[in-house]
Assembly symmetry: C2
Homo-oligomer: 146 residues x 2
Amino acid sequence: MDKEIVLKAIANDTRMSILTLLLRHNYCVRALANELDLAEATISQHLKVLREAGLLVGEKRGYFMHYDVERSALLELAKEIEALAGIEREGCRPEDRNDCPAVEEQACPKKGQCDDEVKEFCHGPGHGRDDGEGEGHHGNCSCHKS
Amino acid sequence: MDKEIVLKAIANDTRMSILTLLLRHNYCVRALANELDLAEATISQHLKVLREAGLLVGEKRGYFMHYDVERSALLELAKEIEALAGIEREGCRPEDRNDCPAVEEQACPKKGQCDDEVKEFCHGPGHGRDDGEGEGHHGNCSCHKS
DNA sequence: CTTCTAATTAGATATTGACCTAATCATATT
DNA sequence: AATATGATTAGGTCAATATCTAATTAGAAG
């Protein structure tokens, strides 16, 4: 499941409405168009977006398309967002360039002692100073300053 | 919480990256810009979107802004999506215009007997027939046809 | 096999969104 | 007070999205 595609699909008022309508009932495309006061072609395109996100499966029955919502896809998305919320803060490890601009002041093991590489990472080229003083505000990466 | 605004906020790759970075560490705007290879102004705009969606709270500390992710907002969103998946199919009630274009064939209490109003709702004006036959494919709303 | 009809696709247009540079703002430091 | 700096806002450009009408496709029905 491509999270971004699914999110984009439901991050639209019209498509969210289509989804909730289809969760409760079957609707043909024209019924959706009537209900939402949009052209059938417009609904069709929204349905395509929802389909391609894996949120709907369509089946043709007689003249009509019948769409079913893939509730499992919604549940999966909910899980992923929940997991996001569960990501924990990591400690500051200035020796690892990618971990530098980190965590709360009190948790930082190298408060006020970031090396040049770290300074450059935090503040960009030309912001770290080469004069070796390494003290005071400007020499610190963002996590070190009160 | 405005669900659509929150969804739009996270339905963007860059903003999702910002969010996951900030979940693990503090980053100043420039650090985010370096990390994601974008202009600071661009990051700032993304931060604004996330802030306005209630996903971040910012606090100025010294020179730097410190942003914290509102994990509760993410959890709330996850709950809402989960609730969405939990919406149940409702029975077909053709007597209620808004409930008509409904449910599975076997569950429909008025299979093949939709009245003109229902036909018009399902198929739009000019699709219901006035000849009173009311049988066969054309007289049925979408939920009645195999 | 021809006709009818629901749905989709094509093509056009207007709006929104993402990104940049430059200007401005707010706050620290001297 | 003057200056420096991190962040934000302003203004502009280009791409993506939402919507429409018109044309096409796919599948019944006669």
